[in-house]
């Protein structure tokens, strides 16, 4: 009966616009509150968080423009609240960081407030943020070597109530403070997250006051229908068929000496408006922290699809429901089963999943698909130590530097400072001055690496080189990089981006004495020692010999591509006798014709 009544309420076109903008504004306000008040660099600078709203059935209604890896799967965490509790009430707030209960991974704390209106649970506001520390065995939020939750050593909150009647449950907060390094920083982040979800709650109640609950609920249904329609329309534009693709994560010590292959089978059904991603043909979970959680498989698989579609598609459950994801229980791309570790479920394999899906579209059509984006750089590691300037206070943070290169795709070069596929350029880079004020470290260099972008008609973005070192006391640097053995691949004739490199050297002996470091490791740097991170460039799209010579000239003049590579890879001859350089058109034409002929001959 109630259902029928809801449908009777007409949501006219204007009300659709007004309420959708209103909800969008609420999620943006939630995000603003978190950024401005958060304490750790992940939140206040990098913006490694997302805010969103689901309905009482945990269906995503809207999200702010947060991280791709957070967005799609956030509904699963909201579902854990209603699945596990039968006594939820106004004033409650829940914390879930458990990959076994619908969360992404342990480092993301997800705070959820069930929003009540006239005694009824109508929406849930969600704020998910990567914490500065979570009390892991090692001072890092990423535990690659952990085989299970016990070796990770951090706290698992399998969806627990943390506020009742709008007040902290002091015992839970106390638990966290005892087990988390830099507890004041954490508590500051906690307050920021509470501010964010409570702001969302307040605004939703105001919205229901103003428009009436029935109208708001009827709108929500229409909004999901709208998302569904838009997604179906987008899928209808694609050709029908099934395609397969594979990529491979770098070798992992002991557990995967040949690396981890990641495979997908993509089926597009434009008639019915569905896309299916089949991940069942993947290896079993490994005793290592890289296994994926259900939430991160969903989020990364869907991201790979969305990257290929109209960017204005709404990000709601209705739209996402047209993408079907098949996984095999117990697979690395499935759902990590307790107690296997999913400490790093949001990055390494998730990055590979986004790439394998987005690049698979290159097989669908010559004008579709994105090359592989670059993988986790070493400059974005976790650092830990003491600060002699602040009475030896502890510092523990994830740095956000060394931005790796985005993928080339049809019509556009890759995005510089893209970071990794799961962050897709959304995460902000640290201010070096802010970091040097907050922590006793020094950055000696942060510049782009020439020729690192995968060549192509549309070039992958270039990677960056970053030198970091501790001051005064030793510090520990944790790395979990990828792309050294398997750099980002190009598609449709594009070349791969540069391989990731990681080195260490002693200042007084000079940079030329640098030695390679394992890309997955925890290193102690002494004062006077520095690390060098060389991130990958993104993969290229299309044949480099088809790149507009003017773009090549610009790349050479700006130092993104060297003269030699311009000639040898792009077949473009550049004259350097004028300030802005110029393309030698005739020589270029002849060179390119010869190179194409050679390529034909060797085929």
């Amino acid at each position: 009966m109630a259902e029928k009544k809801k449908k009777d309420i007409r949501i006219d076109p204007l009300l659709m616009v007004v309420l959708s903008k209103r909800l969008d504004a609420i999620s943006r306000e939630m995000a603003n509150t978190l950024t401005r008040t958060g304490r750790s660099g992940n939140i206040n600078t990098a913006k490694d968080f997302s805010c969103g709203i689901t309905d009482a059935q945990a269906r995503m209604v809207c999200v702010d423009e947060g991280l791709p890896i957070h967005i799609v799967g956030a509904g699963l965490a909201a579902k854990s609240v209603t699945d596990l509790f039968d006594d939820i009430q106004p004033g409650d707030c829940f914390l879930n960081n458990s990959p076994y209960y619908g969360n992404s991974h342990h480092a993301d704390f997800t705070f959820m407030v069930p929003v009540f209106y006239k005694g009824k649970h109508v929406f849930t506001t969600i704020t998910r943020a990567h914490q500065g520390d979570i009390g892991n065995h090692d001072p890092t939020t990423y535990m690659p070597f952990a085989s299970d939750v016990y070796t990770e050593g951090g706290l698992d909150f399998p969806c627990v109530r943390i506020q009742r009647d709008y007040k902290d449950l002091a015992d839970i907060v106390r638990m966290a403070k005892v087990r988390i390094r830099a507890p004041e920083q954490w508590y500051g982040d906690y307050l920021a997250a509470i501010g964010s979800v409570r702001t969302g709650e307040k605004r939703i109640v105001e919205m229901c006051d103003k428009y009436g609950l029935d109208t708001v609920m009827a709108f929500t249904e229409r909004w999901q229908e709208y998302g569904r329609t838009r997604m179906i329309e987008a899928i209808r534009l694609l050709p029908a068929g099934t395609w397969e693709n594979e990529t491979r994560h770098d070798p992992l010590p002991f557990v995967a000496p040949d690396g981890v292959p990641i495979r997908v089978k993509l089926t597009i059904n434009p008639m019915e408006g569905y896309i299916t991603l089949d991940f069942t043909d993947n290896i079993d979970c490994i005793p290592f922290g890289l296994n994926m959680s259900e939430a991160t498989v969903m989020a990364s698989a869907v991201s790979g699809v969305l990257n290929n579609l109209d960017p204005t598609l709404p990000h709601n459950w209705g739209a996402f429901s047209r993408i079907i994801i098949k996984v095999r229980e117990g697979s690395v791309v499935g759902q990590a089963r307790h107690p296997l570790s999913a400490s790093m479920a949001t990055t390494n394999l998730a990055d590979r999943v986004i790439n394998v899906v987005q690049a698979c579209f290159g097989k669908v059509s010559k004008e579709l698909g994105l090359a592989e984006g670059a993988y986790m750089p070493a400059a974005a590691g976790s650092v830990f130590g003491i600060d002699w300037r602040k009475n030896n206070a502890l510092y523990v943070r994830q740095l956000m530097m060394g931005g790796a290169g985005g993928p080339g795709h049809h019509g556009y070069d890759g995005w510089l400072g893209y970071g990794i596929p799961v962050t897709a350029g959304v995460v902000h880079m640290d201010s070096i001055e802010i970091d040097e004020q907050a922590m006793p470290l020094l950055v000696d260099k942060h510049e782009v690496i020439p020729d690192s972008g995968g060549a192509g008609q549309w070039r992958g973005a270039i990677g960056m080189e970053c030198h970091q070192r501790p001051r005064h006391d030793a510090g520990s640097w944790g790395f979990i990089a990828d792309g050294h053995f398997n750099p980002p691949q190009g598609i449709n004739g594009g070349l791969p981006g540069s391989a990731l490199q990681l080195y260490k050297y002693t200042l007084d002996k000079g940079e030329e004495t640098k030695t390679e470091l394992p890309t997955v490791s925890l290193e102690t740097l002494q004062p006077g020692e520095a690390m060098i991170s060389m991130s990958s460039g993104g993969g290229g799209f299309g044949n480099p010999l088809d790149r507009d010579p003017e773009k090549v000239r610009h790349d050479v003049r700006e130092g993104y591509v060297t003269l030699e590579k311009a000639r040898d890879i792009y077949g473009v001859v550049i004259n350097t006798d004028t300030e802005l350089y110029s393309v030698n058109n005739e020589a270029t034409k002849a060179l390119r014709a010869g190179m194409k002929k050679n390529a034909e001959a060797t085929k």
Partner: protein, 703 residues
């Protein structure tokens, strides 16, 4: 007789406001002449001289400062140069190893799934960016001494490239400027006369990208702004102006030409920055109110700013043309919503307004200049809000049939609704976008817009702002008689202001009384020099001191106003700390009173208060002559198209009260008096719209 006048050169129009000694105000407008701004300038002054029946020379003489007059001026010249990439060829000298600070920016892309975007070029090309071997650390200690030969070598190369300006920005120059100063010395010696900017002077803030960006923009504007000012002063002298020129700044005040040429970045966006000053003056004069939201809706954009307790909100988080300004600037938020914004329906049946705009050419469909896309103006025609025969006072004829066709084809048909309903949806949707912007800059900062007066400027504002204010729960909207030239009016009566700031870190637990005293003393000395230079009499001088504070580990600060001009003892410190906790709670709904507070920047705002002008107030003598006729206009609450009385604004007199529904037509604006509101003419000739008891309740959902 002496006149105060101000010319604001905007993107489309050049506005001149003239106030005579009695406070009577006149507005003159002419189209801006891109490429030669001074022509429009002189043209508009000639119009004014003609109006007062004075020879140009005599009129200019009476505007001169030495005759007791005043000449204010703001121009879009630097804003346009940045947006169009027509600034001087500029090089950057930076710390070696950090050539990509302007390239990499702070990262952060908007839509995570959108890869159909070109990565923006850096403000200064990489090949004109030179790394200089040197390094200073966070405490100001020298890690690597300056390599002076690097500097000389770079300068030799720059001479060859014939750059016109140099930006010098080094890491941690805010903690120790010694290397930047040394580089300045070398430039002066090696290349005397080349303009340059030093980052620790342009914008002494932590966060290298923002400081580097401010410095690059500042240097790149130096040749342009000094030429512009020199040319202008020459032309002004030729036509008989004697004395000082006051130039508008992005912080909403005026400074002398000499000051602005030193820091030209403060000329960016000065026009929009003066609209809130105008709104404040008008609201204080007419209604004695000082909590105000000022809005400006024109053809392509909607700007909004906020004033609390008479203080205009400023922000350091501002961009122009996608480039970070990084300086303290009036916090004016802008979106692409105006009369020309295009309405369209997507494949899922959702209506969107903009961001595309029909601009002036081809313009809205009703302009009959080839535009076929339905715009907000077309919707206003269909709804009967605008009279197609009386647009711009009748100077331009609009074609209603074309407006109907565009809306029918592109909006009504796909949504399967009537053309009036479609037009109403367009009108309502653009209102929703604008009310969201207002919420962003009020609610997000802990301000309740219901307690604020809305002052509405711009030609298109009168048709939308009353509904928007009502949507926000506001009760009053003031539409000034000078709504069409709000910025110029603000510039004619602006205070002389300048900000002085420096980074000096300390925290409440171990407060550095001596260090902060020294810092504030140096800022005050700069403020005093400024007052002296600007010849501000002692009794008009006012200093406001702000501490920019945060909790440990936070990186975004809140500005806390000091009760006095310094922190000399525990009691004053406690007060400041308590004020911070209170402010944090107000803005973000949480605070942590048991935690220490960090202080990062100190800022002194120097204000030379202009004595409050005496505007003439009229006695209320309502006129009966203003009623024109009736026209069908759309009011959803009244069931659709209803006969609506139309009033001629120029014939209305103070004391006239217009009941709803009604439409008031002025030559440059039209005011919609919505049901549940009434309009009255104030003693100063402004329109005050009061919204009835049902304010805050939405009309949209009513059946």
């Amino acid at each position: 007789m002496s006149y105060r006048l101000c010319i604001d050169i905007g993107g489309t129009f050049t506005d001149l406001v003239v106030a005579d000694a009695q406070g009577n105000v006149n507005i003159f407008k002419s189209p801006t002449t891109p490429g030669n701004y001074t022509d429009a300038f002189i043209e508009t002054v000639k119009m004014a001289a003609g109006h007062y029946s004075l020879p140009l020379k005599e009129f200019m003489g009476q505007c001169s400062t030495i005759e007791g007059g005043y000449f204010g001026h703001g121009s879009t010249v630097s804003t346009n140069a940045i947006i169009e990439g027509k600034v001087a060829k500029t090089a950057l000298l930076c710390t070696k190893g950090f050539r990509d600070i302007l390239v990499a920016r702070e990262a952060g892309k908007e839509n995570p799934y959108d890869f159909q975007m070109e990565y923006p070029e850096p403000y200064i090309p990489r090949y004109l960016t030179f790394g200089i071997s040197e390094r200073i650390n966070a405490e100001g200690g020298i890690e690597i001494a300056l390599n002076e030969e690097d500097v000389r070598q770079a300068i030799r190369q720059l001479k060859e490239y014939k750059v016109r300006a140099i930006a010098v920005a080094l890491l941690w120059s805010i903690a120790n400027p010694v290397h930047e100063l040394k580089i300045a010395e070398i430039i002066d010696k090696e290349w005397p006369g080349i303009p340059y900017s030093l980052s620790h002077l342009v914008n002494p803030c932590i966060r290298e990208y923002r400081r580097f960006s401010s410095t690059a923009i500042d240097a790149s504007l130096k040749p342009l702004v000094s030429n512009y000012v020199a040319q202008l002063e020459k032309r002004l002298t030729e036509i008989g102006y004697k004395g000082q020129l006051s130039l508008l700044t992005s912080s909403g005040g005026v400074v002398s030409a000499e000051e602005l040429v030193k820091k030209p970045i403060f000329s960016v966006d000065c026009g929009p920055a003066l609209a809130p000053s105008a709104g404040r003056l008008i609201a204080e004069t007419d209604l004695s109110l000082n909590n105000i939201i000022t809005t400006d809706m024109g053809g392509t954009s909607f700007d909004v700013a906020c004033i609390t307790g008479g203080e205009i909100a400023v922000s350091r988080d501002t961009e122009v043309g996608g480039f970070m300004l990084g300086i303290n600037k009036v916090d004016s938020k802008s979106i692409g919503a105006g009369g020309g914004s295009i309405a369209w329906v997507d494949s899922g049946g959702l209506l969107h307004i903009g961001p595309q705009s029909a601009g002036a050419v081809p313009g809205p469909a009703c302009y009959n200049k080839g535009g076929t896309e339905p715009t907000v103006t077309d919707a206003n025609i269909v709804l009967g809000y605008l009279d197609p025969t009386y647009f711009l006072g009748g100077e331009m004829k609009l074609d209603k049939k074309l407006a109907v066709k565009a809306i029918q084809d592109k909006v009504a048909a796909p949504l399967n609704i009537s053309v009036e309903e479609a037009a109403y949806a367009i009108w309502g949707a653009v209102n929703a976008s604008m009310s969201n912007v207002i919420q962003d800059i009020t609610v997000w900062r802990g301000i309740d817009p219901r307690e604020y007066l809305v002052v509405s400027g711009g030609g298109a504002g009168g048709l939308h702002m009353v509904a928007i204010a009502e949507e926000l729960g506001g009760r009053q909207v003031l539409i000034p008689s000078v709504a069409g030239a709000l910025s110029a009016f603000g510039g004619a009566f602006a205070d002389v202001t300048s900000d002085f700031s420096l980074s000096k870190f300390t925290e409440s637990g171990s407060f550095d009384y001596e260090g902060i005293k020294a810092a504030l003393t140096s800022l005050e000395r700069q403020a005093e020099e400024f007052f002296e230079h600007m010849r501000v009499p002692k009794k008009q001088q006012k200093l406001q001191v702000y501490a920019e504070a945060r909790y440990p580990f936070q990186v975004w600060e809140l500005p806390v106003l000091l009760q006095g001009t310094g922190i000399a003892n525990q009691k004053q410190l406690d007060r400041l700390v308590a004020d911070f906790h209170k402010l944090h709670h107000k803005v973000f709904t949480v605070s942590a009173p048991d935690q220490p507070v960090e202080f990062v920047y100190w800022r002194v705002k120097a204000i030379g208060k202009l004595p409050k002008p005496d505007f003439p107030a009229a006695k209320a003598v309502p006129s009966k002559a203003a009623s024109k006729a009736t026209r069908k206009a759309y009011f959803k609450d009244l069931g659709g198209m209803v006969d609506t009385p139309i009033y001629k604004g120029v014939d209305l007199k103070p004391g006239n009260v217009i009941t709803a529904p009604a439409i008031i037509e002025e030559p440059t604006t039209t005011i919609l008096v919505m049901p549940d509101s009434k309009a009255s003419i104030t003693r100063y000739g402004n329109y005050l719209i009061e919204i009835g008891k049902t304010a805050g309740k939405s009309r949209v959902v009513k059946k």
